[in-house]
């Protein structure tokens, strides 16, 4: 087992930046965001429970160019984007790393894969830091994860006194450590640190573990509860945009004379116009249908399709929701009622 001194992290990031873009949690106007470091490798922070934006940003950015085109004199030329750079995300939380596996299901499985996402994933590494202090919004343990879980990460760092215990999870992680061996040190202590993190409980705990809820929800399409929570919902896209597992997007064309580009941008099932079709037919016209769609997709449809719930318990949506629409509340309510 290796260890990494906290004082060596900046050195590691700087070294990695020779080949890759580095993303790490930084404080920006009092908000902790996962942002790209350029020459400021000391700016990373440990003072956060969860970053405002999830690691989804790095592999499936809010805004990305799908292609450019030139259409002068009716000679249409379409250019796909240039290859992406290698990237390393440092300081990801275990829940976010687990969320990447859910996005993998969506974008890499099935008949079609998403080449943008695939390329980024292949060129990306996740260095996770286990959570020392989950807060009242955390419920990863309800989704078979824990503050010390390794799923989805390449390397997991477990904070100890003035260093991190380093666990390489994947081959990619092992190679990364090997290539930067001089920065890591041998850890001789054989302590229960890792186990402690893995068995740590979050405040909400696993009371809201959905279990077989998906089976029950199949018949709950017309449950009045949806109407109840939808009445409260303001219809902003907050919850879906901060969610590390939500993957809906819109495709937009931007034309400038004969040239232009096509981009894709996150979109939210909470928005009025999300399902609106040409001819003004809207299959989900009110907030009731759209709220139901969000929860049903996470707790039923996704499970049917990929055999996993589309939630990792990171707590972002519940922390950010202005009117207290709480997925754990939905789960516990539905479990009790059914």
């Amino acid at each position: 087992m290796d260890k990494l001194l906290r004082s060596n992290v900046s050195r590691l990031l700087k070294k990695l930046s020779e080949h890759a873009e580095i993303y790490a949690p930084t404080m920006e106007d009092g908000v902790c965001v996962l942002s790209k470091l350029v020459n400021n490798y000391d700016d990373w922070t440990l003072d956060y429970v969860r970053t405002t934006n999830s690691v989804k940003d790095i592999f499936f950015p809010q805004n990305e160019e799908i292609m450019r085109y030139k259409n002068a004199n009716n000679d249409l030329n379409i250019e796909p984007p240039k290859p992406f750079k290698e990237r390393v995300a440092f300081g990801v939380r275990p829940c976010d790393a687990a969320a990447m596996l859910l996005l993998d299901n969506v974008f890499l499985e099935g008949e079609f894969y998403d080449s943008y996402y695939k390329e980024r994933r292949e060129k990306g590494a996740l260095i996770t830091i286990a959570c020392e202090k989950p807060d009242q919004y955390c419920f990863c343990t309800s989704f078979h994860s824990s503050p010390g879980a390794t799923e989805g990460s390449d390397i997991v760092l477990y904070p100890a006194d003035d260093y991190f215990l380093v666990v390489a999870v994947t081959d990619k992680g092992k190679k990364l450590i090997k290539a930067n061996a001089e920065i890591f040190e041998n850890a001789t202590e054989k302590s229960g640190i890792v186990e402690n993190y893995k068995s740590m409980k979050t405040p909400i705990g696993n009371n809201c573990s959905p279990g077989e809820l998906n089976e029950k929800l199949k018949n709950e399409f017309d449950n009045p509860y949806w109407k109840k929570i939808a009445r409260r919902c303001l219809g902003c896209g907050n919850c879906t945009f901060v969610c590390p597992t939500c993957h809906c997007f819109a495709v937009c064309d931007v034309a400038r004379g004969c040239d232009g580009k096509r981009t894709r941008t996150w979109d939210s099932c909470k928005f009025q116009d999300f399902f609106l079709m040409a001819g003004d037919h809207n299959p989900r016209p009110t907030q009731v249908e759209r709220t139901r769609q969000r929860f049903m997709h996470k707790l039923n449809y996704f499970k049917e399709k990929y055999d996993k719930y589309q939630c990792v318990g990171c707590g972002r949506c519940v922390e950010k929701c202005p009117v207290g629409v709480h997925i754990a509340d939905v789960i516990t309510h539905m479990k009790e009622e059914l």
């Binding site: 249409l76 030329n77 974008f107 998403d114 249908e289 039923n300 996704f302 399709k305």
Partner: protein, 283 residues
């Protein structure tokens, strides 16, 4: 330029011909050819499948392929002027370039219908997706029993594919075409039926024995056609229809066409009535 296996990047194609289908001009058929023959070869469409058509700078739209794979070139798309993309497309002239990607979605399971009688029920522009499978079945007529086509529209001028419904199809042995319009204007020439498609269907009353009914049209028409078919004792498995939702990626991850655990763009658009009954009812 033949390149890119990227699913979201369209291939360049040229509009070879544009034909007006209706006298009001809101439906046009576009005859389209890929610029690169290799891309055409890779485009293995089956009847009922769709393609994403791009008007660069405006957007993309999922459009059903109207031509049958038994008559491969050129590809045909019959498009009604509805939203942003289709309106832009209607302004296009012959020779202009568009982007195409696909084919997407499932197809009409025509090979499972071998030996059966087929009843096609279409309304308005809903005949467009049916046309591919009708031509497919007509071209392989020896494999199928009788073919009944029931087609209606608002007025005689709104009928699409006039050459086929009046001449080509009725002239094939074993194919019957029944036409109806909702109403006619004074002075208009019309010697076929007047009335709505569902009632007309009940009037014709095709037998459900060893038959398959395939329907496509405006949602409200589909709803009543399904009721009529049930009255005629068609079983749920015998009824095939299509669903339509807003789509942006066509490959199953933009999340718009999600109904239950299905995505219309990859699991649809063709569903049996049995499948539809099992889905959450929001479309």
């Amino acid at each position: 330029m033949c390149s890119s296996h990227n699913q979201l990047v369209p291939k360049v194609a040229t509009i070879k011909k544009i034909a007006e289908e209706t006298s009001s001009g809101d439906v046009k058929t576009f005859y389209v050819e890929f610029d690169c023959p290799k891309e055409r070869a890779e485009f293995n469409n089956m009847p009922g499948q769709c393609a994403m058509i791009s008007v660069l700078g405006v957007g993309e739209s999922m459009i059903s392929i109207t031509s049958s794979p038994t008559r491969p070139d050129p590809l045909e798309f019959s498009i009604k002027k509805m939203g942003k993309v289709t309106s832009a497309l209607h302004d296009f002239a012959e020779g202009q370039k568009i982007g195409i990607r696909g084919p997407y979605g499932n197809n009409f399971p025509a090979d499972e219908w071998i030996g059966k009688d087929l009843v096609f029920i279409g309304g308005g522009i809903g005949l467009a997706p049916l046309r591919s499978v009708i031509n497919y079945c007509i071209d392989k007529k020896e494999s199928y029993g009788s073919i009944t086509i029931i087609y209606g529209s608002r007025s005689p001028s709104d009928l699409c594919f006039k050459e086929e419904i009046f001449e080509n199809w009725p002239s094939v042995e074993g194919v019957k075409v029944h036409l109806a319009v909702d109403k006619i204007e004074e002075g208009e020439q019309w010697d076929k039926s007047i009335g709505f498609v569902p009632q007309y269907l009940e009037q014709i009353s095709p037998s459900p024995d060893n038959a398959i009914a395939i329907t496509c049209g405006p949602p409200i028409m589909i709803k009543y056609v399904l009721e009529s078919l049930e009255k005629l004792k068609f079983k749920d498995e015998q009824i095939i229809t299509t669903l339509e939702l807003k789509m942006q990626c066509g490959v199953g991850y933009c999340g718009r066409c999600n109904i239950g655990d299905k995505y219309v763009c990859i699991d649809g658009p063709v569903f049996s009535y049995k499948q539809i009954k099992e889905m959450p009812q929001e479309f």
